[in-house]
Every structure is written in structure tokens, then in C-alpha cells.
Symmetry: C2
Subunit: 313 residues, 2 copies
Amino acid sequence: MFKFPSISNTSSTKKMQPDLEAYIEARRNAVDKALHKIFPTASGHAAQIIEAMEYSIFAGGKRLRPILCIAAAEAVGGNSSDVMPVACALELIHTYSLIHDDLPAMDDDDLRRGKPTNHKVFGEALALLAGDGLLTQAFHLMASSGGEPSTDSRVLLKVISTVAEAVGHAGMVGGQVVDMHFQGKQAELDAVQFIHRHKTAALIKASVVSGAMLAGAADRQIEAISLYGEKTGLAFQISDDILDLESDSLTLGKKVGADIRMGKATYPAVVGVEDSKRTQSHLIEDALMALETFDRLADPLRAIARYVIERKK
Amino acid sequence: MFKFPSISNTSSTKKMQPDLEAYIEARRNAVDKALHKIFPTASGHAAQIIEAMEYSIFAGGKRLRPILCIAAAEAVGGNSSDVMPVACALELIHTYSLIHDDLPAMDDDDLRRGKPTNHKVFGEALALLAGDGLLTQAFHLMASSGGEPSTDSRVLLKVISTVAEAVGHAGMVGGQVVDMHFQGKQAELDAVQFIHRHKTAALIKASVVSGAMLAGAADRQIEAISLYGEKTGLAFQISDDILDLESDSLTLGKKVGADIRMGKATYPAVVGVEDSKRTQSHLIEDALMALETFDRLADPLRAIARYVIERKK
């Protein structure tokens, strides 16, 4: 049973932690169960592509985006089952982006979440197509989830449109292009902010906004949750940049120091680690402030925002 | 003015031709105009990706899929403006698939529609992302087209779901995987048929089905148009295989003989050119038969089916 929102309203992160862990574990398990149901048992000609898609989907992801989607729905009184197809779609999209980012033509990474990257196992062609397949399946999943009696078709279209905008050329893909563009070049803070906002924050913001929309949130609630998502997403990417400097490969499940080796435009590279951590704290304060008028149902969202800057991987 | 459906009901292809040309040209112009409106003037950080996306969108495509979508809508009494966003989305999806297919990890093609392929102009990373961006933009376009008063949201969701299924792992992406798998290997006819059905026919079928659905076609009309699309799509891919053998690079706008060089599983490679042409004729007969109960409004669909086996590029 989910008890998290009913705990005493304390600002102590330490007290929050065990509840957050239980909350996240329960939602992660539910997401994993739902993800397993998406793909049929692979056989015949189609077996190869499904195997490649599943490999990366079940390679130990944190399921942060689906959990945020669910937590946002719950924050406005919705429940997880109504948003599960969209929550899963967000994870498929995130996974597609990792597979394509890892390709030799992009970041050329061999290791992801402690396992060989998709193209290292299945070859470049199949990895490329597995990414394409996951992105497409995400939209199929969202568009076919309208059967739920509680889902308004117009809201679902708005959600699909919001997610697509967040991950297309005006969002994640655009951020990735600028990320590649500045590789090995001196970047200014505004370029790094552009990259963070588009490459990472856009999908995280779309995740919480989708959850809130599907749960029937009012416009001003959606606005507040959108702001929460933007700030939390930016803080999350700064964490990523810092972890690449301060963590180790075993904990992180991928090579550390890669950003420096590739001359990536990161927050620490432009303003230093201390300033990056300060910015991060401000972002999380802003994220929590955005939820000020929300009741205890938003406690999981609050706890996740705090976790973002404390995470070790 | 569109006059095509009102011409005398003749089975002579020769007599059809001038009307078909005028019909196709008018629809192609309307599609091109609509496509130009999709992308904003590129500036700032986003300029590069939009330039790469537009390069392939405006590289001289036939617009077959959008035109089929429009023709299917018109065949059941609908009009082109209602289906235009979805028609454009189909072209974005087709273009994304060409960009990814041409990448070095896939077919490694230098020339497409008489111009250097996307990665030859923009590099592999940007070409990969331009494909991702186009696929995503297609779904954004479809999901945001619900503003039209005549569009039922539930129908639009069904269309998005149908298109996504047709181009995902169970459709186009799956066909591409099997196409890559059999490269350089001996393929049986059933493998070639699997490739054709998934790689090509699925999206062509989805194009006409989408048009019909959006125009409010009855279920049995949609079934008939779906069958028409499947048969026409298969015949179209056999044309592609034959043209690769019998055409020349100047006419075709890409290298000919590539299928043989790469050891592709094609219809002519498995059953020979003569049998391929016979199969094609049977497919077009079946496509026309599927439209038997349709009136003259379906004449453009009929003419396009005949054009598919007569085309020179």
C-alpha cells in the first residue's frame, strides 16, 4: 500500500528517505511489470528487433521519468494505473535516446548502466533500428491507451503533442544537436543551459505535465508542475555532469570522465563544481516553491526533487 | 479545380494519364505548401537541425504517401484540407526512414533523388538526429491537428495508433531489420514477401487507411481501402526492385544495381523479372477489385494503382 503522502510533513530529507525508497520501489516495480507486457514473446522474423529493444529497456534503468509521471498524477489526486501507458512510453523514449546517443556516430559509448551498449551487442544497424522502434512504439502505446474510460481523447492528444514537442527538434533532439555541436569547443553558459533545457529538462518536464494532464489537473496546477519539472530536470542534468566528474565507473555503470575527454559543454566545465552545486540547490528550491500550494499528495514529487541532487548514480 | 473523379469512367490507362498528372500535381503542390509551413525559419541553436530536416524533405520526393492519403479521403467523400496534417506527417515519416536507411551502418548510400544523401551533407550524427526529429515531428503534427472542428479526437487517436503500428517494429522497422538480415544471404520468397509487406506496404496501407478514417469512412470502406493499400504497396516495392535492375541512375536519382551489389532479398532475385511483373499485375488487379463498390470518386486511387507499375522512377 502506498502511504507516502500521509507521512508527517517534515522538511528533513533523512526522515523522507525510507518512505521515498519504498514509494519509488513500488512504482518502479509497477512500471517494470507494465513494460514487460508491451512486447510480445518474440518469434519468427520479428524476434531480432524485439530482442534488441528489450535489451536496453530492461538494462536496469531508474525509471525516473515514468515515476515522475505517476507522482505528478498522484499529486493532483490521480492514480498510477490511468497514466501507466504514457509512463511506459516515456521510458521507451528515454531508452531510444540513450541507444542513439551511444552510437559510434554520436558519443560512441561502450558501456551503459554497467552493460555493453546496444550496438556493442547487436551491431550498429540493429541498434539504430531498435531506437527507431522504441520511439515509434512509445507513440503507439500512448495513442492506443485511449480505451480507458477515464481518459478523455482530447487530453490524450494534448499529452502526445506535448511529449512529441518535448523530444523533437524543438526539444531533446535539438538539445542533442547543440551538445554535439559544442563538443571540443569552448561553450558559454547560455549554450550549456540550452543543452540542459532541451536535452534533459524537456522530457522530464513533459513527464510530470503528462501525468498531471491525464489526472485532470487544472491549468494552474499544470503550470506549477511544469515549472517543477523544468527546474528538477535542469538540476538532474547538472547532477549528471557532476557525477561524471566525481563518481566512479562501478557506481555509475558507465565510463566516468567522458565529458572532459570528449570536450563536452557541461555546467562544471563552464562555472566549476562549486557553482554548479549552488545552482542545483537554487533549482531545487525553485522546484519545491512551485509546489507550495500543493498538499501532501505532492510529497513524493518534493522528495524526488531532493533526491536528484543527492543521488550517487 | 479538381475534376478527376468526374471524367468518363474508362479503363484505358492512356486516357487516364493527363487527368492523373493534373490530379497528382495539384495535390503535390498542396502538400509541398503545407510542408513548408511546418518548419519555422531556422535561427539560433536550432537552425542546424531544421536545415538538415528540410534538406531531405524538400529533396524532390514524389509525395506518394500524402497523395494516397488525400485520394483515399476523397474516395469516400472527404476533402484534402481535413487530412493535410496527417498527409504531411506520412511524408515526414517516409523521409526519416530514407535518411536512416541511407546511413553508413545501413545501406550506405551516397545519392538519393539525384542529390547527396543527408549524412553526406550534414554528417552522420546530424543525419541520425534529423531522422529522429522528422519521426517525432510527424507524431507532433498528427496529435496537434485535432483543432479542426471536423476531426473526431478518437478517430485521430486511432489514426496515430495505426500509423505508429505500421512504421514500428511490427511494421516498417521490422521489415528493415529483416531486409538487413538477409543482405548477402539466400532468401526464400516468404522472406522477400515479409520484407515488402513490412518495409513498404505497411506505410502505404496506413496512408490510405488514415485518409479514409479521417474522412469518416464506414468500416467496410476502410477494409476495402486497406486491402487496396496492401496490394498497391506490395506492387510498388516490386517496381522499386525492378527499377533497380532496369532503370538508370539519372532517371532514378540514385545508384542502380545496388540491390544486386549488396545481395538484397528482392522479388526479381528470387523469382526473376518476368514472374515479378506478373505478380505485380495480379496485385494491381486485386487492388482495383478491392475498390469495386466505390464510385468515380475513387478513380484517382485506381489511376495511382495503375501508375505504380508503369512508373519509371
